[in-house]
């Protein structure tokens, strides 16, 4: 069974002129896959990601995450799913400015009710893995973009989620740092088997994934298996 199953998902933004942004999306993503969703702005890719991340509701269809139907959840249930199953990485990092790096990383565990000492130790461990141990007590505004994004990645990983959802993770970074961040995500996927979904409009970023899903005007178009990676993978298998 796939980790993520979307069946005929529709989403319309109500307003003066209703906007039908997702038109019958069908999609399956398996465990350990590294998928990128590509499309122009306004294509519906961010809406899709928000639905996948349970940040937003959909109108009709079915979204099954790890065997559970994600529909009509209470706020509390949704919060719990987001906390335990999903790790978010945002374009603008979304770190809390008045908290230090380690406090930001700890926060998801705080909402799980993990005690202070354990949570701090775990957060330090994750920061260390991402090479940020010495930045633990710094505030976000004292860090570079790459460092901030790595703090955000540590925060996304700390609850050992089923999937990592990254919304334009390199959008605010320079090209060198972008490569570093994408390498990090690739490594997480290859070494830890983490399922990763990246939304982007940059083909360079999209090409890091195993599978590229093109979306335009709310409809999934071409789905490409990434040849480069296939070769790389098969080389690895041999």
């Amino acid at each position: 069974m796939a980790l993520i199953e979307l069946k005929d998902i529709n989403k319309t933004y109500q307003g003066a002129q209703p906007l039908h942004v997702l038109k019958g999306i069908n999609l399956e993503i398996g465990r350990g896959e590294f998928v990128s969703i590509m499309g122009a702005s306004g294509s519906g890719k961010s809406t899709l990601l928000n639905i996948l991340g349970i940040l937003d509701n959909y109108d009709t269809g079915e979204y099954i995450l790890d065997g559970k139907l994600i529909k009509d959840l209470s706020e509390k249930q949704a919060a719990d799913y987001r906390n335990r199953m999903i790790g978010f990485i945002f374009q603008s990092f979304n770190l809390i400015g008045f908290k230090t790096a380690v406090e930001n990383v700890e926060l998801p565990l705080y909402y799980q009710g993990v005690n202070r000492r354990k949570r701090h130790a775990m957060a330090m461990e994750y920061l260390d893995r991402l090479g940020l141990a010495q930045w633990a007590s710094h505030y976000p505004n004292e860090m570079s973009g790459g460092q901030k994004q790595r703090v955000a990645i540590a925060r996304a990983l700390i609850t050992s989620p089923r999937i990592i959802l990254a919304d334009e993770p390199t959008g605010a970074l320079d090209s060198k740092t972008s490569v570093e961040v994408m390498n990090l995500l690739t490594k997480l996927n290859r070494e830890d088997g983490m399922t990763i979904i990246v939304v982007t409009h940059e083909s360079g970023v999209a090409n890091e994934a195993d599978k590229i899903i093109h979306i335009s005007d709310g409809i999934i178009g071409k789905v490409e298996e990434n040849v480069k990676h296939d070769n790389w993978n098969s080389a690895l298998i041999k």
Binding site: L55, E75, K76, A79, D80, R82, N83, Y111, R155
Partner: protein
């Protein structure tokens, strides 16, 4: 719990100006309220203590000057009270309880050994201390036996002791060449310019002034329950005195009557009005504090929407957002509320030491404008608690809204 306080500390440290503004609104509101109530209490206490010198159902009567012609006399005639008026008073009605006769003497010098002090000598009958509430420090007041025997005994004021020394009871003093024995000392008012020295009425008349004239009559009465009955009693009594002195019974100035009962009723009403007015102003002050708190909570919530979005994305449920906002607001308002309360109480203390110590001369005596202008700790705590609770309730609506907003909308907010 510790985590929650950590969050609050973080947020306060990060929003110093906003915290300071909220804090100021709360502190200032409580501070004003405490000062206001303290001053009100001070005025009330001062009224009470100034009237506390007298029995409240008492009347003091002085002779006046006629303003109407009557019985062949012109207006402008001085009326002099005499012993006949005392007899009239005693027989006037069964409502009359105790009657005391007072003669105001003259300034004299008390000599005790080589020490001297000046005093204002008054001859009074034994009932005087029961009507005028003379508070004795030691010894006794003039009694009926002194009165009967025209004993040469005197009661001094504590203010005289400064010059005469503490050891006066049983000692002999000389007044205008006549030797008296000191039998008592009463608590005199430090603010009085000149303190009275009391000797028996009969002694005074026998030695210093053999005439029939007296200065005033004081009496207590019973069976008077309201201001109408009091006015009726006073009116009838005043008319019979005026008639006896050949004055027009309706002459308003022939006899001066100081009716403490009606004065007391009026004062009680004034106190109630004062108290109500102060509470209204106080509550309005509190309301402005509450509006301040809720307004700032509104801004807080708006400013932090994006942060709440982040928290929700990583697993915060609406309840935890709500409790974060409430806990923060309660902490800030309570902390600053107590600071305001503390400062208010200090201000009341300062007021007590400065304005409270000043006395105002109202002619025959001096009164303190403010006496003990403080607020009970219970009232202060209740007011602070009210502000905290009301401020929180007022802020609850925006907090709930913030807690309910969809995470994606919150994340989009900047």
């Amino acid at each position: 719990m510790r985590d929650l306080f950590g969050e609050i500390y973080n947020s306060i440290r990060n929003n110093k100006l906003r915290t300071a503004l909220t804090g100021f609104a709360v502190s200032w509101g409580i501070f004003l309220l405490i000062c206001l109530l303290g001053t009100g209490n001070g005025i009330t206490n001062s009224l009470l203590s100034n009237s506390g010198q007298f029995v409240q159902n008492s009347i003091q009567v002085y002779g006046g000057r006629t303003s109407m012609p009557a019985n062949g006399y012109r207006e402008g005639r001085w009326i002099q009270l005499d012993n006949g008026d005392v007899r009239l008073t005693k027989d006037y009605s069964d409502k009359v309880e105790k009657v005391a006769t007072v003669t105001n003497g003259t300034m004299g010098t008390i000599v005790m050994g080589d020490k001297t002090v000046s005093a204002y000598m008054m001859g009074v009958t034994a009932e005087y201390s029961e009507i005028q509430k003379v508070s004795l420090k030691e010894g006794r007041f003039i009694n009926p036996l002194d009165e009967k025997d025209a004993a040469k005994v005197a009661v001094l004021s504590t203010t005289h002791l400064k010059d005469l020394g503490d050891d006066v009871i049983g000692r002999w003093i000389t007044i205008a060449g006549v030797v008296f024995r000191v039998v008592g000392v009463y608590h005199g008012d430090e603010n009085d310019f000149q303190s009275n020295l009391y000797i028996p009425y009969s002694t005074y008349k026998g030695i210093f002034d053999p005439s029939d004239k007296i200065s005033s009559i004081i009496m207590t009465f019973r069976g008077v329950n309201n201001i109408e009955e009091s006015d009726e009693f006073e009116g009838g009594y005043s008319r019979s005195l005026k008639t006896r002195h050949q004055a027009d019974p309706d002459d308003p100035s022939a006899i001066w009557i100081w009716n403490r009962f009606s004065q007391n009723v009026q004062m009680t009403q004034a106190q109630n009005i004062l108290r109500i007015a102060l509470w209204i102003i106080g509550i309005l002050t509190l309301i402005s504090g509450i509006v301040g708190v809720s307004n700032i909570m509104l801004i807080t919530v708006k400013e932090r929407t994006h942060e709440f979005g982040i928290r929700k994305a990583i697993g915060a449920c609406p309840g935890s957002i709500l409790s974060l906002i409430i806990a923060e607001s309660v902490t800030i308002t309570a902390l600053f509320g107590y600071i305001g309360m503390f400062l208010g109480m200090i201000a009341c203390g300062v007021l007590d030491k400065t304005a409270g110590a000043n006395a105002v001369d109202i002619g025959f005596t001096q009164i303190r404008m403010l006496e003990n202008p403080t607020v009970g700790l219970d009232t202060a705590l209740a007011a602070t608690l009210l502000l905290v609770v009301a401020g929180t309730i007022a802020g609850l609506a925006p907090a709930r809204k913030a807690a309910k907003v969809k995470p994606i909308e919150a994340l989009r907010a900047e």
